[in-house]
């Protein structure tokens, strides 16, 4: 099964990368955008989705500073990639 793991800095943790992106936007003419946060996306294939929580807590995310969200996708039609 294909799965996506979204990893984000926890609320309240300063995200300088997000701030830098946010500050760059007005120079490009993009106004009215705020609260930019930059995280990570991990895509993987798994035989046992039940283990993903543990995998995220132990390796993919650092639960002290990051939140993670697992998105399971059973449909692997087309070119095998699903973007939602």
């Amino acid at each position: 099964m294909r799965a996506k793991v979204l990893i984000r800095p926890k609320q309240g943790i300063l995200d300088p990368q997000g701030k830098a992106v946010e500050r760059a936007l007005p120079a490009l003419g993009f106004e009215g955008i705020s609260e930019v946060r930059v995280g990570r996306l991990v895509e993987l294939e798994t035989d046992d989705p039940a283990k993903l929580d543990s995998l995220c807590e132990q390796l993919l995310a650092n639960p002290l500073v990051e939140d993670f969200e697992i998105v399971l996708d059973e449909q692997t039609s087309g070119n095998g990639r699903s973007l939602q």
Binding site: I13, L14, P16, Q17, A20, L59, L60, N62, L64, V65
Partner: protein
Amino acid sequence: MIGVLQFPGSCDERDALQACERVGEARLVWHQETDLSGLDGIVVPGGFSYGDYLRAGAIARFAPAMGAVAAFAARGGPVLGICNGFQVLCEAGMLPGALLPNEGLRFVCRQIELTVAGFGGPFATEIEPGQRLSIPVKHMSGRYFAPEEQLDELESTGRVAFRYAPGQNPNGSVRDIAGVTNEAGNVLGLMPHPEHAVDPLTGSDDGLDLIRAIARQPAAA
């Protein structure tokens, strides 16, 4: 005998080895070694272990040698984590907190002043509280973070080992924290590089105190 770990991607292990050899005997420990018998102290050096993929220190934590290091620390053996080594020890849960990307998003590389915040444990033997040390920092992810209540606990139990001197915090670390110890005091991690400050020729030999402290530990059981 001090063991200096070497992961793929470590880059400060030679300086750490050389610094340890100034005050005692030392050897490199390859990341796949699991027999640490005969070692009296361990240095987890700086660098970019496993390319710092995912997060700094996240992969190195699973190296075969790290299980042996955790067992060594649990027996009371002194472990010193420097820079990437500090990140590895935090990821391994051997030290509290996490190291996040620098607030300024830049790699910082400069000589910096540290104050010794007054910690206990075996590392305190060579270093006095209030002492100022001039030691270089060089890192991209050195912003120390821990939740407020944990910080209060670290401070009240004397586990904040080093702070950046006022006005010199290079990375946005919470409460200017540059280094912390574990509960027993035998595991110490810091972002600045004492192994790069062992000769006045290169600016300072203040780091030798810390290297000496680990070299003078009695052998762990």
